[in-house]
């Protein structure tokens, strides 16, 4: 959910709306925000499943340190979605297990 009418912070103005796809689903995003923020706003919380125990994972540190939120972005696996900014048309995919390279 996007936060509007914050009592302290002004609304972010003049942000350009872009679209990315997350596992084929079209997701609205704003230029300048990380992939993870756009996903969180769209209610998508599972970013991948782990190789060993097949567990779902999402955002944990949101600082680019824990690497839990990694996904495949435009064919490249293991991209930290919490610090990687969206680009219009970006293709984001969940990683199942180790993730692979494509394209």
């Amino acid at each position: 959910m996007r936060i509007k009418n914050h009592p302290i912070l002004e609304d972010l103005k003049n942000r350009k709306k872009v679209y990315i796809t997350v596992d084929g689903r079209k997701v609205e995003a704003y230029e300048g925000e990380p992939i993870a923020a756009a996903m969180c706003a769209a209610g998508i919380r599972v970013h991948r499943t782990t190789p060993r125990h097949n567990e779902p994972r999402g955002i944990f540190c949101n600082r680019g340190r824990c690497t839990d939120c990694i996904m495949k972005v435009d064919g490249k696996p293991n991209i930290r979605t919490c610090v990687t900014l969206v680009k219009n048309g970006m293709k984001v995919e969940s990683i199942r297990g180790m993730g692979d390279w494509s394209e």
Binding site: N5, H6, P7, I8
Partner: protein, 168 residues
Amino acid sequence: MKSKVSNKSNAGIITLGEFKKIPGYPEEDDFSKGPIAVIECDQDIPCNPCEEICKYGAIKVGKPITNLPVLDAEKCRGCLKCITICPGLCIFVVYRDYTDKTSLIYIPYEFSPLPEKNTYVDVLNRRGEKICKGSIRKVIKLAGSNKTFVIGMEIPKKFYNTARHFEF
């Protein structure tokens, strides 16, 4: 949150008894003079903007700045400025004898949306418990308040020392 774990914790609650030990907590008589600041600060945090902002010199912290603020009730005019500058949001202005039967409590407010004037609200005490009904009488944005609004709520007089927030 209902829980089997005891919810009787006093965490974050300053009891009236503890307040009275704070230097400069207004005496009963002081409330009859009109609106007066009630500073609910009882920890030695290094902080003194309340002293700086008071142009009547009614709040004294001195040095070191971990001293607790002391209110000089004689000098306080209830101007509300200290409410908005306090980083701990722990200063209130209490106008006990607003009318015969009601008091007006000014509180710092940093939520959205703002209440409208004359809204009927549930009045909360320091534990967040509903204690009575009240009415919003003032919605004030002071110059330099940096997004902290001051809300004046009218409440039954007997709650002037316990009413500290509201819900609507």
